[in-house]
Amino acid sequence: MTQVTPQAGQVPAPADLSDPSRRGRAFKGPRTANKVSRGRWFREVGWRHVIGIIAVLYAVIPILYILSASLNPVGSVSSTSVLPDTVSIDNYVALFTDPTRPFARWFLNTLIVAVAVVITSIFCSALAAYAFSRFRFKGRRGSLLTLLLIQMFPQFLAAAALFLMFTSIGEVLPAIGLDTLTGYIVVLLGGALGQVWLIKGFFDSIPRELDEAALMDGASHTQLYFLIILPLVRPIIAVTGLLAFIGVLGEFILASIFLRDNEIKTLAVGLYGLLDADRTNNLGVFAAAAVLTSIPVILLFQYLQKFIVGGITAGSVKG
C-alpha cells in the first residue's frame, strides 16, 4: 500500500467534504500550539474514527443482542436487551436436551452435507480447471463460456423440477430420494463445477515450464496433477472451500423441499422452523443456536481474511 504522509500546510487529504463533522470544525480557530495539532488531527484523521466507531457499533449491536439473548434465561423477545441483566446458560443446555429440536443432529447433518459437497465440488472443480488451464482442445472456449453461462442460473430456480425428479428417483433408489440427506447432497453436487473459474485463474499463474519439467522427468499426467500442481494451489483451495462451505450452510430453498423430517434437517431449515414455531418465546434458544453456529464460521473467516478479500474481488458472491 503506497500512501503519502501529508505535511503541514499541504492540501488536505482527499476526503468527503460533505461530512458535517468536518465542516463544523473548520470554523473553530485553534488557539494554542497544542490545540492546533489536536484540531488538525481531528479535522484530518479524528473524524474518520468517529465514523468508523459508528460503523462498528452498527455492525456489532445486532451481534451483541444475539449474545445477550442467548444468555437471557427468560428467552423471550420482550425481556431481551443489548446488554444482558442476568446471565445463564439455560438456553444452551435446553438446546441439547430437548428432543423436539435436535440441534446436535442438525449440526451434524449440516457438517455431513457441507463436507461431502465441498470436497466433491472442489475436487471436480480443480480437475476441470486444470484441464481448461493446461490443455488446448476442441470446444474449450465454447465449454468455458457455456459453463460460465449455466452457472449464472441458480439451481433453485428449477426447484419444482428437481422435486419431481427426485420423487421419481426415490421410487427406484430410495437411498437418494426426497427426504434423505444423500439425495440432498446429490442435488447440491449439481453445482460441483461452481469454482472452476476461480481455480483456473490460479492454475494459469503457475508456469507451464513446471509441467514440462515434471513430464520430462517421467511423471504421468495423474502424478503431475496430484503431486505437483495441486499442492501449489492449496491456499486457493482453502478459500474456495470456505466459500462453498458458506454456500451450503446458507442453502435454504432446496433444503426446505428435500429435508422435511426433523431428524435429517440442516441448521438452516431446522433453525428456521425453531424460530418460526414461536417467534416471540423461542428467541433465547434460537440465539444460543445462532451463536454456536456462527462462532466457527467467524473464526474461519478471520483466519482466512486476506484470502477472502482476494477471492471475493475475483467474483464470488456469498450465498
Binding site: D16, L144, L157, S220, I253, I257, S294, V297, V309
Partner: protein, 533 residues
C-alpha cells in the same frame, strides 16, 4: 515418494515399465468402473419392471460416458472434465430443461395424473359394494423381489375357498395345489414372493406401488380394503370414443369442460363429477396468463417491479455505505485499520440465514429491538411499505461489509500519483473523489455490482426468512407485500394449498431469461470473453 518412483512409464529412459503408482492407479480405475457398472446392472431389472425407459437410458448413458473416458487412453482433457460435467448435466441442465417442459403443462394439484388414470379414479371413487358382492382375503405377491414387482393380488374367496390371481388385466383362477392356505389366509404361492403386512400398508399409501391397484371383473372391479378385497360396482362408464362418462343409473352424460387451466367432467346442467383433472399440454397459456389474466398479471407485474426495486436498492445502499466507509477509513493516518476491517467483516462472516432470522425478530413490532431502541411504534412486518423498508434495512446490514471490502481493495489499487497530480492542479477533495477516484473505482467494481444485482434479484433467503413474502392482504394469499419473483414462484410450486407447478415453472422460465440477460451484461462488464483466449 522418491524421485525414482516418481518416474512413470512413458518417457522412462531406462525402459522400466509399470511403476507401483501406475498399478495402484489402474486398480482404482478398475474398482471404480466395476462398481459403477455393477450398480447399473443392479438397477436395470427394477427400471425395466416399472417401464422407466428414460431413466434406464440415462443410467447406461452415464456408464457409457465413464467407460469411454476412463477405460481408454484417449480423451485426456475429458478425464478431467467428465465428473463435474456429468453432475452439472444431470442435476442442473436437465432440471432446467424439465422446467421449460413443465411450463407448457398445467401440472399441479388436481392435475398430477394422466387422463386415463383420472378417469379410472373417478369411476373407482363412485364404486360401491353391490348386493351379494364377493369378498376376498387378500395377499399380495410379487413376481420378483418384494420391492421390485410386478405385483399380483392373490385372492381367497371367503365364501367358496376358491383362489384367484388378480392383475390390472383381469382375474384368473389358480390351481389350489400351488397355494398354501393357513387359518383362512394365503401364506405362500408358487412363483410369488409374498409381501408382509407392513409392506402392503406402505405400498398402498399415496404414491406407493399399490395405490389404486384394481382388478377388473365382469361385474365391476376388485380393490383392496386393508388386508381384504371386495368386488365393487361403479355406476359410471367411460366411452373413450365420445370422451364421455355416463352414469348408467341416472343416464346423465359428463363431458370434459374447460375450467381455468384444466378440464373437468361436467354435465349439461353444469354439475361437476369430480374436482380431479389431468395433466395436459397447454402450450404457452401459462405465460399468457402471467401477463394478461387481470388478477394474476396485477400480482405478477407488481412483484416484478418490486423485485427490480429491491435488487437495485439493495446493491445501491450497500455500495453507497461500503464505499463511504472505505473512503473514510482508507487513509494511512488512520490507525487500527486492521481492527476496523476485522470488526466490519463480522456481519459478512455470520451465516446469512442466521443474520436474516435475527433481523426478523428485531422488527417485531411490540418488543423488537428497533422499535425499542429508537423508540418508534412502527408495525414493521404488518404494513407492506414498512415491510419493504425492513427488508432493505436488514439486507443493508448483511451486504455492506462485502462492498466495504471490495471498495477498500479497489481504492488501494488506484495509484496515489493520480490523486497527487490532481491535488497539485488544485483539485479539492470532492472534485478529486468524483472526477478521479470514483470513475476508476467504478470500472473495477462494475462486474461485482452486476453480479450482486443478479444475486439479489433471486435473493430468496432475504425475503423468505425475514417476512415469508408477507404481509398478505386477506383476499390474496398467493402474493405478499414483499414477495419477489422467486419467493412468489416458490409459494406457487411447493407452498401449502393448490400447488401450481406448471404456472410456477413458467415464472421460473421468465426468471431464467432475466438472469440470462443479466449474465450477458456481466459478460460484457468483466470482459470474460477476452480472458478465455
Amino acid at each position: 515418494m522418491s524421485r525414482a518412483e516418481d518416474k512413470g512409464r512413458r518417457r522412462d529412459p531406462e525402459g522400466r515399465t509399470e511403476r507401483s503408482s501406475g498399478v495402484v492407479g489402474l486398480l482404482i480405475k478398475i474398482v471404480a468402473l466395476g462398481t459403477i457398472i455393477g450398480l447399473a446392472v443392479m438397477l436395470t431389472p427394477a427400471l425395466v419392471g416399472t417401464d422407466r425407459w428414460g431413466f434406464l437410458a440415462v443410467v447406461w448413458g452415464v456408464v457409457a460416458v465413464l467407460g469411454v473416458t476412463y477405460a481408454t487412453r484417449r480423451f485426456v482433457p475429458a478425464k478431467y472434465l467428465v465428473p463435474g460435467t456429468l453432475l452439472l448435466v444431470l442435476f442442473v441442465v436437465y432440471p432446467i430443461l424439465m422446467t421449460f417442459q413443465l411450463s407448457t403443462t398445467n401440472y399441479g394439484d388436481g392435475t398430477r395424473t394422466s387422463k386415463e388414470v383420472t378417469v379410472s379414479r373417478i369411476i373407482g371413487a363412485a364404486a360401491q359394494q353391490a348386493e351379494g358382492a364377493r369378498t376376498f382375503e387378500l395377499a399380495v405377491g410379487s413376481e420378483g423381489t418384494a420391492t421390485s414387482g410386478p405385483y399380483t393380488f392373490l385372492l381367497l374367496d371367503a365364501a367358496t375357498d376358491e383362489v384367484f390371481a388378480g392383475t390390472p388385466d383381469g382375474l384368473t383362477e389358480l390351481d389350489p395345489d400351488t397355494v398354501t392356505v393357513e387359518d383362512g389366509a394365503i401364506t405362500a404361492a408358487e412363483g410369488f414372493t409374498l409381501l408382509d403386512r407392513r409392506q402392503i400398508n406402505e405400498f398402498s399409501q399415496r404414491g406407493g406401488e399399490l395405490e389404486g391397484f384394481a382388478v377388473p371383473t365382469d361385474n365391476g372391479v376388485i380393490t383392496a380394503q386393508g388386508f381384504s378385497a371386495v368386488e365393487l360396482y361403479s355406476p359410471l362408464e367411460y366411452d373413450a370414443a365420445a370422451d364421455t362418462i355416463t352414469n348408467v343409473e341416472t343416464g346423465v352424460d359428463y363431458t370434459p369442460v374447460q375450467s381455468g387451466d384444466r378440464k373437468l367432467f361436467t354435465s349439461a346442467e353444469g354439475e361437476r363429477l369430480s374436482t380431479q383433472s389431468w395433466e395436459e399440454n397447454v402450450g404457452l397459456d401459462n405465460y399468457v396468463r402471467a401477463f394478461t389474466d387481470p388478477r394474476i398479471s396485477s400480482d405478477f407485474v407488481g412483484i416484478f417491479i418490486w423485485t427490480l426495486v429491491f435488487a437495485v436498492l439493495s446493491v445501491g445502499t450497500t455500495f453507497a455505505l461500503g464505499l463511504f466507509l472505505a473512503s473514510v477509513l482508507n487513509d494511512a493516518r488512520v490507525r487500527g485499520q486492521r481492527a476496523y476491517r476485522s470488526i466490519l467483516l463480522l456481519p459478512y462472516a455470520i451465516p446469512g440465514f442466521i443474520a436474516l432470522l435475527v433481523w426478523s425478530s428485531f422488527f417485531n413490532s411490540e418488543f423488537g429491538l428497533i422499535n425499542n431502541v429508537l423508540n418508534l411504534d412502527i408495525n414493521w412486518l404488518g404494513n407492506p411499505f414498512w415491510a419493504k423498508v425492513a427488508v432493505l434495512l436488514a439486507n443493508l446490514w448483511l451486504g455492506f461489509p462485502y462492498m466495504f471490502l471490495v471498495c477498500t481493495g479497489a481504492l488501494q489499487a488506484i495509484p496515489s500519483d493520480y490523486k497527487e497530480a490532481a491535488s497539485l492542479d488544485g483539485a479539492t477533495g470532492w472534485t478529486n473523489f468524483s472526477k478521479i477516484t470514483f470513475p476508476l473505482l467504478l470500472v473495477a467494481v462494475a462486474p461485482l455490482l452486476v453480479s450482486s444485482f443478479a444475486f439479489n434479484f433471486n435473493n430468496f433467503n432475504a425475503i423468505f426468512l425475514l417476512t415469508e413474502g408477507g404481509p398478505f392482504s386477506p383476499d390474496n394469499p398467493t402474493a405478499g407485500g414483499t414477495d419477489i419473483l422467486i419467493s412468489y414462484t416458490y409459494r406457487l410450486a411447493v407452498g401449502g394449498a393448490g400447488q401450481q407447478i406448471g404456472f410456477a415453472s413458467a415464472i421460473s422460465v421468465v426468471l431464467f431469461i432475466i438472469t440470462g440477460v443479466l449474465a450477458a451484461l456481466q459478460f460484457r462488464a468483466t470482459r470474460a470473453l477476452e480472458e478465455v483466449g
